[in-house]
Amino acid sequence: MQVPRAPRFLAGLFLRVALALAPVIAGLGDDAARAKLVGAVLSEDAAEQVAVVRDLVSVDDPVVLRSLAAWRLGNLYVWSPPDGGAGQPFLLEGATDAEGKSAAIRVADGSPLRDAAGTPVRVVVADLSVADTSSKVRRAIKVVLDLRAVGDPDPAVRRDAIVKLGQEQEPDYLPHFERRLPLEADPGIRRSLAEAIAFTRLGGTDPAVRIQAVRTLAELRSINSLGYLRKLRGQVSPVAEPELRRAVESALVVLEDYVWWGTLFGTAFRGFSLAAVLLVASLGLAITFGLMGVINMAHGELIMVGAYTAYVVQNLFRSSFGGSVAVQDAYFLAALPASFVTAALVGLVLERGIIRFLYRRPLESMLATWGVSLVLQQLFRHVFGAANVQVGSPRWLSGSWVISDVLLAYNRIFVIGFAFAIVGLTWLLMTRTSLGLQIRAVMQNRAMASALGVRTERVNMLTFAFGSGLAGMAGACLSQIGNVGPGLGQNYVVDCFMIVVLGGVGSLPGTVSASLGVGVTDQILQPWLGAVMGKISVLAAIILFLQWRPAGLFASRGRGLEG
């Protein structure tokens, strides 16, 4: 930023005058505040800039607030008049027009920036010179904006600001918290405020106030203060300040206990959620491989078909109903059945075209399905490109539900619920419908079932299609958790076979228990061993287990094992 010498001096002079008037400035009009800000933007003295920014905390002028936010993010620009006059800081207004230009608003009075002829200027961002900032100024602005955000109408913004300011342990912020406390209606934020106040007071020197603050933090079950209290335990001498030391120690006992339970429930939830992911992915395979005995290497690609179906449905919804948030929320409900149907159809074609000729030749069926998996991968790479595609998340699957500091992400809760639902439906289908009866009959003894008039060909076809459809639905569901790309299937297929084999081929309860076992064990081991060693340990444990019980958890007699 180049500002000619004389105007800079003038600006500095003005600033000094303004600073001298600082005590009364809150009472002055907003013009004075804006002028101060203009002076600060043009100044090259960082300390002066910080001082001015701090003073602006009580100003309510919208132009000042917008300018501060813009300055911090580098969206505030300076216009130097061609005649060499003082630089004029300005903001950009609203959207850009067809030529990529936007209107410019002067920080000095909120009026449009005008050229020599007096017509409002429209500017292109690329041509502008950005007002300089330093990290000190940016931090000062951030503090001012955070202090103002303590009274923000949006609860999330309020909470973030309060938590962050509390962590600074800056006594100057206390009045801001205390002023807000009686006005605050949201119980969660009241707690955050109380925590911030206690934490700030703990940073002070008065022993009585500090002890009270430690007790309050323990009562609030403030996990955020745990690290600080642990440090404090090391600093406070038991001889000089015995009471504070005792208070810290008892607070730590309470908090550590609370964290222990939180970790326990958190781990349990994460274990269940990983188990649900594994179960959802492998249930289809439990039917095609487990019940029917087809070593279906294309299972992963059936999952991929489902995930891409979700992507296509999303795009169809966007192109026919527009890109609004409500559409985004709704598409996923349509994507689930659509992915079931698509993958089931692919499975049907696969069964009719290839697999039915290979029922008595498991090795050839393995090779053939592996070939199919490669063909499908290349086909999708060709149609949708080699890069991953973006499947958006509906609002109701984003974010998380927080109970006592344990995070339950909505998409994880959904997967757990979904796993329950499809296992329940599969169980009902198998035990309560005539198709299920026929499937079980064919599975146990094909010749006898055939002799009794069951159309075994048709049953095979439907069973395989059903298993494939489940895989497809799993794909739609997994699109909310991981990546959707041509390699999606390969990431899951090994885990799926592992789960089905571990559970016992042909046993649905086995698949369910194996998913639970692997999921929970993995999540318990991960915090100790790390993600890499955790996974290796789980795999090693599975190998050992299968040495001991080769038929898996629930050995059953299915057609696949008759040889």
């Binding site: 580098g74 962590q167 955020n224 959620s273 490109g385 998380s400 995070l407 790309g485 991960q526 993600a531």
Partner: protein, 414 residues
């Protein structure tokens, strides 16, 4: 029908003659990037930008040696993301095709695999992708960002923002492990205690980030925490999804990623990453006449890609809306540095070109770079904030950072 063979023979002879005439004035240059396999998604972009640069140079008169212009003739091989195959293909380029120089490699493991081949055959390789350092071969020029040109400025920025706790998260391979080892030493030298540094790795293709995000949530509970991520490729998607779902934002716990450039956003949900940070020696959003020309020319070239009149197909990626990123810029810079050095040496001979490269300057899209005697560039480092459009907004510029491959040297200086 009878006179057709005569015509054919005639045109064949003509082509042969023309070909011979042209062959006299060409120089063979190797392009060693994976065009298939896992790395293809990143490396094809580098092949594209290299061919664009060759065409750019050929159009403006080629490489002039002894007053005679030489047209660049690319020899493209596909090492297929297979590390031993990189060595074989490098051998093929140097021994069979006798190329004057090779531009290539992305992953550190592929560079390590070709290094002995280049040293044995006295070849010349330009390597353009940020890496972990601790290596220096007389046959390799590293236009890439060394650790002190990317990771250290990023960490400095975070320290400047008042961050006191660092969560180092990476994919489990050589680049993240070496970088984090250096960063840990650096942070300790800046007074960050061990207890406030966490170092975690996940396997390639990891999708379950629940535990890690929960631990980041606890880690950042006391405030002033940030994540330094060397996660590679599409594992970033589940990580950032989980991160956002846990209520973590760039406000309460910013993430600086070293492996996400504009080009990677083709496969990432840019919205989930908005506000988080990146650090490179080039961003597409840099405002300079050189950059504006580079971006515009490259995008125009992609519409009808040709190298000296020979058609060439861009595979796998939609040419529309293609972006530029730091490795692409550094690939291009490598070609220009080599060209200038060859013209200075007046020869394509590696032993004559090598000393001429040192000290070469090039005014690139991100400002001037200089090749130092340690085969690394003096370059400008930028910190950028991710925008929902998949571009970066530059928030800090650190000028004239001299690349230093050996951490012992720059850590010792502190």
């Amino acid at each position: 029908m009878k006179n057709i063979p005569v015509k054919l023979v005639g045109s064949a002879l003509l082509a042969l003659f023309l070909g011979a005439a042209r062959a006299a004035d060409t120089v063979k240059v190797g392009v060693l990037h994976s065009l298939s396999g896992t790395m293809a998604i990143s490396e094809t972009s580098l092949k594209d930008v290299l061919l664009f640069t060759f065409d750019e140079i050929n159009k403006s008169g080629g490489v002039k040696v002894g007053g005679k212009p030489h047209m660049i003739e690319p020899v493209i091989v596909d090492p297929a993301s297979n590390w031993p195959l990189f060595a074989e293909k490098a051998e093929q380029l140097l021994v069979k095709d006798q190329v004057s120089v090779v531009f290539g490699c992305w992953t550190s493991v592929s560079r390590k695999s070709v290094l002995p081949v280049f040293e044995r055959n006295n070849g010349l390789l330009f390597y353009p992708v940020q890496y972990e350092g601790e290596e220096l071969s007389k046959n390799i020029f590293y236009t890439a960002e060394a650790v002190n040109q990317q990771a250290i400025p990023a960490v400095d920025y975070m320290l400047g923002e008042g961050k006191k706790k660092f969560y180092l998260l990476g994919s489990d391979y050589v680049y993240p492990r070496t970088t984090n080892k250096i960063l840990k030493q650096y942070l300790k030298s800046k007074g960050i205690p061990d207890a406030d540094i966490e170092e975690i790795y996940t396997p390639f293709g990891h999708t379950d980030y629940q535990t890690i995000v929960a631990s980041i949530k606890t880690f950042s509970g006391g405030g002033k925490a940030c994540v330094i991520s060397t996660l590679n490729g599409d594992t970033n998607v589940p990580f950032f999804k989980e991160f956002a779902n846990a209520g973590l934002t760039s406000e309460n716990c910013p993430v600086v990623s070293f492996s996400i450039s504009e080009d990677e956003f083709r496969g990432l949900p840019a919205k989930a990453l908005a506000g988080h940070l990146g650090c490179w020696t080039y961003f597409m959003s840099i405002k300079s006449p050189e950059n504006a020309k580079f971006v515009a020319d490259f995008q125009k070239w992609l519409q009808a890609p040709k190298v000296t009149g020979v058609d060439y197909t861009v595979t796998g990626v939609d040419p529309k809306g293609r972006v530029t990123c730091s490795p692409m810029n550094l690939s291009r810079i490598g070609v220009y540095l080599w060209k200038a050095a060859v013209e200075k040496a007046g020869s394509f001979d590696v032993d004559k070109v090598r000393p001429a490269i040192v000290g070469q300057k090039f005014k690139g899209p991100a400002g001037e770079v200089v090749m130092q005697a340690n085969h690394h560039l003096v370059n400008t480092a930028f910190i950028g904030e991710t925008l929902p459009t998949g571009q970066f907004k530059i928030i800090k510029t650190i000028k004239k950072v001299a690349g230093e491959p050996f951490s012992a040297k720059f850590l010792g200086a502190n």
